[in-house]
């Protein structure tokens, strides 16, 4: 057992997950990486150890396997100081419109799973009286848009869950951070047309998550421009908004 702080990253093999793990490890945190394919996380674990001389543990975790969540949390060698959920699934809006199974997977991956697992950690943290919970949601959850409302609605649910959890947990010494990255150049967005000035690289998100945890920020728009963009989008009257195709 070390006396160092520790962070657990759910969705550790994603680009943002790797970036967050590096940011925290650089700060001296020991790291737990959780993902579906533990073997695929080995290289990232070696990377963190080599770079920052920290302890790294790997944990099998499937965000759709909610029945295993209790066991997952109980099986961790230590209850981390910080838990970050980066899991999510963009999916394909068009498919989701006709394929209920695909729509369900998007909803469960972005809302049900992340909310339930972070809720479980919140209870443990509240019992301990400390801890930080980070949920990576999305600007897409700020308003349902024609082009991605299945994903967006699930992220909206997740954002609402985090908001409520924050209000409750803050009285018990537990802080909850909601992160809305905007466009990030990652595996998930590869091939999408991203708007340059509104797009950031994954390491920027990793650093923003670390800063939010250290500064106890509530809601983070990684690029400040997004706060403005979404403010405008949210303010549009529905009569106007429904005519927009984006």
């Amino acid at each position: 057992m070390t006396s160092r702080k520790s962070v657990l990253v759910l969705g550790g093999s994603s680009d943002i997950g790797r970036a967050a793990a590096r940011a925290f490890a650089k700060r001296g945190y020991d790291v737990g990486l959780a993902g579906r394919d533990v073997a695929a996380l080995q290289l990232d674990a070696a990377d963190l150890r080599a770079r920052y001389d920290v302890e790294v543990g790997l944990h099998q975790f499937d965000v759709l396997d909610t029945a295993a969540f209790d066991r997952f949390v109980a099986g961790l060698p230590v209850l981390p100081d910080v838990v970050i959920s980066i899991v999510g699934l963009l999916g394909t809006q068009e498919n989701a419109e006709n394929d209920l199974a695909h729509a369900t997977t998007i909803m469960r991956s972005n809302y049900e799973g992340p909310s339930l697992i972070l809720g479980l950690f919140a209870e443990k943290f509240l019992t301990r009286g400390s801890g930080t919970i980070v949920g990576v949601s999305s600007v897409a959850g700020d308003r349902g848009r024609a082009s991605n409302y299945v994903y967006g609605s699930a992220k909206a649910g997740f954002s609402a869950f985090l908001s409520g959890l924050r209000a409750r947990a803050s009285r018990g010494g537990v802080h909850v951070v909601t992160v809305k990255p905007g466009f990030v150049r990652t595996k998930m967005t590869e091939g999408m047309k991203l708007i340059g000035p509104l797009t950031v690289e994954a390491p920027v998100v990793g650093d923003a998550i670390l800063a939010a945890v250290e500064n106890k920020t509530d809601v983070v728009y990684v690029s400040g421009k997004w706060r403005l963009v979404m403010l405008i989008i949210k303010a549009l009257p529905e009569a106007v908004f429904k005519k927009l195709k984006f």
Partner: protein, 441 residues
């Protein structure tokens, strides 16, 4: 297909860009006319596949690090900026860094990049112990000075033409701090500049910035920047041993109109720059490694300053014996033309390590020119001087030299071609640069 260009943004050509996520996928990506691309900091067409370009920057993991020896094993897409930020605070830096830290390890090996210490410490490849190479015929081989040594020496400086570099093991330098003790010498003309570089042969780092607008009596007037790693005891109280590498926040957001750089603006800039530098000359002071090694990195997208049509960097090396006369001739022609940039850099080089490595004992001069007018003809004339003097051009900067210039400058080409052929009989690995300069037609 995607439009791709190098840092000079000339030429801009179509290539199919793939971004594999595993080494197996890298192998699958290789087909006829493929080359790897790192950070895209080669200026011309070196990192553009003849048909297909394999982007490697996703491979950014460190595999292992031994703090006892400073030996690090890493994936080829790791950037030097990342290495510096990660291992600098732990007391280790790359032995060799070029003028930008935003290059990948794979790219640095492929170009066998040199730094301000080449005259005494050699190039990037000298500190590479071994590398993992995916050859054009599909073998994945570990190459070092002892094992597959032909492949090793052809890959160091081989511009990616031996295959795709997947991983490398390299040695890092142990440093006490991330600060450099800098000394500036002002030289009133080319003779003085070359004498000053010669006299500073034992300085770890040395480089001269030349005012290439100055003519006549002032031809070749320079500021020479010498540097040594600063010890902890040289830092003021309370200063962190490792500085923070921050971008200035400045960047060039749009392509400037091509007239932004003209004779008057460059002359004014150079005059100011020279005078400010000359005022600091003489004493020494401690500066952060970032501005010392990477002065331009603090301005994002500085290549856009040359406008939409892009720019050419002409970097030659001239063997020591002929250097003074030829460099004088080149600088005189450039000064009379009057459209060269502020960025003229003069530096002493030692022997290169790879078969196609650029350096040879002598002086290297780098000049930037906007792409316009008769610049291509002008550079062909300069090339004739370079070839006649037994010199050559740096492939990492090149976008336009002729086959004849290239063949004259690189006499080991036959040997390189033979090794390349043995690693890739079908000739799958081909870049726009190799099509232009090496491939059988």
């Amino acid at each position: 297909m995607t439009l791709v260009s190098g840092w000079g943004r000339f030429p801009v050509v179509d290539s199919d860009v793939l971004r594999p996520r595993s080494f197996a996928a890298v192998g699958d990506a290789v087909s006829a006319g493929t080359v790897a691309r790192g950070s895209g900091r080669a200026y011309g067409d070196a990192a553009i596949g003849a048909v297909r370009t394999v982007a490697m920057t996703g491979f950014d993991r460190v595999r292992s690090f031994d703090p006892a020896t400073g030996r690090v094993r890493l994936e080829a897409g790791v950037l030097l900026s990342d290495l510096i930020d990660t291992f600098g605070p732990r007391g280790f830096l790359p032995f060799v860094v070029p003028g930008t830290r935003f290059v990948s390890v794979g790219g640095a090996i492929a170009a066998d990049v040199h730094g301000k210490n080449h005259h005494c410490e050699g190039g990037f490849g000298r500190y590479v112990d071994s590398l993992l190479l995916r050859t054009g015929q599909g073998d994945v081989i570990e190459a070092s000075r002892e094992q597959n040594s032909d492949a090793f020496f052809a890959t160091v400086g081989g511009m990616g033409l031996t295959g795709i570099i997947l991983e490398a093991t390299m040695r890092l330098r142990r440093v006490e701090t991330g600060w450099i003790r800098e000394r500036v010498i002002s030289a009133s003309d080319l003779d003085a500049a070359m004498r000053a570089l010669e006299a500073s042969n034992d300085a770890t780092y040395s480089v001269a910035w030349i005012d290439c607008v100055a003519r006549g009596r002032d031809l070749g007037r320079s500021l020479i920047y010498l540097g040594e790693h600063a010890g902890r005891d040289e830092l003021a109280e309370g200063v962190d041993a490792f500085p923070v590498g921050r971008s200035s926040g400045l960047s060039v957001p749009v392509d400037l109109p091509s007239m932004a750089l003209n004779r008057t603006s460059v002359r004014a800039f150079n005059e100011l720059y020279y005078r400010m530098g000359a005022r600091r000359a003489g004493g020494s002071h401690v500066v952060s490694l970032y501005p010392y090694f990477f002065p331009l990195d603090s301005i994002g997208d500085w290549n856009r300053i040359y406008g939409k049509r892009g720019f050419l960097q002409h970097q030659c090396v001239i063997p020591e014996a002929n250097a003074r006369a030829v460099l004088g001739d080149i600088l005189d022609r450039v000064a009379r033309r009057g459209d060269a940039s502020f960025l003229a850099v003069l530096k002493k080089l030692g022997q290169g390590d790879g078969i196609l490595s650029f350096p040879l004992p002598g002086y290297t001069l780098a000049l930037d020119f906007p792409v316009k007018g008769d610049i291509l003809n002008f550079l062909d004339e300069i090339d004739r001087l370079v070839v006649a003097a037994g010199g050559r051009l740096y492939l990492a900067k090149d976008a336009r030299q002729s086959r004849a210039t290239f063949a004259a400058g690189y006499p080991a080409l036959q040997r390189f071609n033979a090794i390349r052929k043995s690693l890739d009989p079908a000739g799958n690995i081909r870049s726009k640069l190799s099509q232009r300069l090496l491939d059988e037609v």
